[in-house]
Amino acid sequence: MHEDLEKVLFTHEQIHQRISELAEEISRDYQGRELMLVTVLKGAVFFLTHLAQSLTIQVKLDFLGIASFSPGKTLPGVVRISKDVDQDIQGMDVMVIEDIVDTGLTLRYLLNVLSGRHPRSLVVCTFLDKATRRLVDIPVKYRCFEIPDRFVVGFGLDYNQRYRTLPCVGILKSHVYQGK
């Protein structure tokens, strides 16, 4: 186990097993249809590649980037789309791929933006779901794991760009992100 991890939540084997199960479920649900996977950069990329390789249906890939945008001194924290999807999603079955959903605020913003482009269907598939932190109801149709309210890293999730390439998902020791 990496020295900065307090605990491993999911091992490499558990992650692959669960992704395979999810891919089977999605392939069954979208049998005979083409699915557009819109992945939110960057944390979800690891999840995307493993999921897409396990699907048995036709998929298209596209990506969204999000950045903070503070237009004024008294409105910190709002976000903007820094990298939009390249393809027209009108009439398509779209699945937003996320690494982790917690408050749901940003995902709600993304879903509002994408639904305005009139896809045929729009659902969310997340690697991790931190449901206890939810502030708004977001219909997450597919999830790999539900996790407790702890700071996790690995398999794409980072802290200050570190730990993304860990093959597992683990809880980061608090002294690491508290700077002690």
Binding site: V40, L75, P76, V78, S82, R108, R134, V136
Partner: protein, 328 residues
């Protein structure tokens, strides 16, 4: 963000030393005039840190509020910049700041008078009066703004008597102290820490503006705390409907059946049927809020409530700030 605060006796050449130090280090020099200019331009307020002899343009309560505003303005500048502050109360504002060096420049009275006579071309009596008036004004400023009656030497890292040293020698002493304290190295903080400090400063600014009743739209007056305003605006941006303190929940009754304790959560999000309570970093308040939320959940099990701690609040805001654009 490294801070050099320079406090000086009028006529002791403190301003010359401060200017040269800031020039040699490449730090931003913040003078009272600069702070007044910022307050005037940003908030359309006139407040004089220097003041005129004998004038008391504000009562002590207002002075205290302006001191908070000055503190917030300086703190806001300090987040991203290395500063040399001159006579702005920086030694009090940044007293607990780890990357600060506090300098006090003094000189014997006759030297100070001589310096003022040379600078102004005035007579001895005029210079002496000017020094006495300025000393009184300075004491008044400290007393009304920071509740400090006297300057105490232990407040400073370096006390310089410019009566026996040239300005250049004084500057060298300050620079040597900076090198010894390794201020330029330890002044660097991570981008996420910087952004979090910026948010806290913004909230401090909002708090100071609230007390000064600056915002004429009335939106600030609706909330008890500036962080609630920030949160409400965030919800507005994300299109989340909210209500502010729409319901009060009795938590305890006295022997006569009167409500002895009640709780009004800050926000209700009707679309999620969820109450949200914001809390600050003060541990005593966090403990109190935790107890109230726990009691509410016991008495009203059907009510959904989230307690958003300061760190949760900042995480919400900085989820996409710590990383570069196009990353998540």
């Amino acid at each position: 963000m490294a801070i050099i605060t320079i406090s000086h006796q009028y006529g002791s050449r403190g301003e010359s030393i401060a200017r040269e130090v800031s020039h040699r280090l490449g730090f931003i020099l913040v003078t009272p005039a600069k702070v007044e200019e910022i307050i005037r331009e940003r908030y359309q307020l006139d407040y004089s840190l220097t003041g005129q002899t004998g004038e008391t343009s504000h009562d002590s309560h207002t002075s205290k509020i302006f001191a908070n505003l000055i503190s917030a303005v300086l703190a806001d500048m300090a987040v991203l910049n290395d500063l040399v502050t001159l006579e702005c109360g920086g030694q009090f504002i940044f007293r607990s700041f780890p990357n600060a060096l506090h300098i006090r420049v003094i000189a014997p009275r006759d030297i100070r008078v001589h310096n003022i006579m040379r600078d102004t071309g005035g007579a001895f009596d005029q210079a002496l009066h000017a020094i006495e008036d300025e000393d009184r004004r300075h004491a008044r400023f400290l007393r009304s703004s920071f509740r400090r009656l006297t300057e105490t030497p232990e407040r400073y890292d370096l006390l310089i008597n410019s009566g026996t040293l040239e300005v250049d020698h004084c500057v060298e002493l300050v620079l040597a102290a900076i090198r010894i304290k390794r201020l330029s190295e330890y002044g660097m903080v991570s981008s996420e820490t910087t952004e979090r400090a910026k948010l806290r400063n913004q909230i401090r600014l909002l708090r100071a503006l609230t007390r000064l009743s600056i915002e004429k739209s009335g939106s600030l007056t609706q909330f008890a705390h500036p962080s609630e305003l920030v949160f409400a605006r965030l919800l507005d941006f994300y299109g989340i409907r909210w209500q502010y303190e729409p319901r009060t929940f009795p938590l305890r009754y006295d022997e006569e059946g009167n409500i002895a304790e009640a709780f009004s959560p800050d926000f209700y999000l009707p679309d999620s049927d969820l109450y949200v309570e914001l809390t600050t970093m003060k541990q005593s308040l966090v403990t109190k809020k935790n107890r109230k939320v726990k009691r509410l959940r016991e008495l009203y099990p059907d009510i959904k409530i989230r307690l958003l701690y300061q760190k949760d609040f900042e995480d919400l805001i900085f989820k996409y700030t710590a990383r570069s654009p196009s990353e998540a």
